[in-house]
Symmetry: C2
Subunit: 128 residues, 2 copies
Amino acid sequence: MSEQHIVILLAHGSSDPKWCETFEKLAAPTIAAVPDSIVAYMELAEPSMASIVANAVKQGCNQFTVMPLFLAVGRHLRKDVPEMISAMESEHGVKINLAPPVGENPQLGIAIRAVVEETLKSSRAGRS
Amino acid sequence: MSEQHIVILLAHGSSDPKWCETFEKLAAPTIAAVPDSIVAYMELAEPSMASIVANAVKQGCNQFTVMPLFLAVGRHLRKDVPEMISAMESEHGVKINLAPPVGENPQLGIAIRAVVEETLKSSRAGRS
């Protein structure tokens, strides 16, 4: 059995390609730094979480961590995603850890402060 | 006329108080650092963006920046929020700048990488 540990960066998904592009850009630094990390979507876009897990299981992987690229826990993370994960664990006989959404980590709040300060600075520069 | 510039940190809103608490925590570093910044909700929670703007206008403010605490542009930021902003601008005779969502700034992707690395490190520590 492979020791490979797949890290799924889970975004909501949308039929709008621009929406998915934003998540691909958000995930790019992680994908460049963390081995076996990949973006997947909960719904409305590909690759789906289910297809990523099924393909990895075929290649012998049995450990997964799902990192939700969500700011907070709503219905999807309270109910839909845990149900999808339970179903995949039963179907494939694997362990899938669901991490808290990235927005619950204080580092996001620090980054938001930097973004707000940068935005205000550039809008003031634009007015002067 | 006041020169005060109100910075509205706009979250989606939810009837779940825990959801709103997450956004209050996310906003806390910004609120501590940026004068006249405040959290408001698009729907389902208080304070609403409309009530923040109406109260500030009564106090003589006429400049606002809305910073969406969203990771990407979906229907809300493409359609609903611009419509709400147009209506408030007409009603109050003020200028409201709508900034891009925080998730479009590369600093969020860097923070997400740090969160993922921290999460994986602590889960490995938990297993050893």
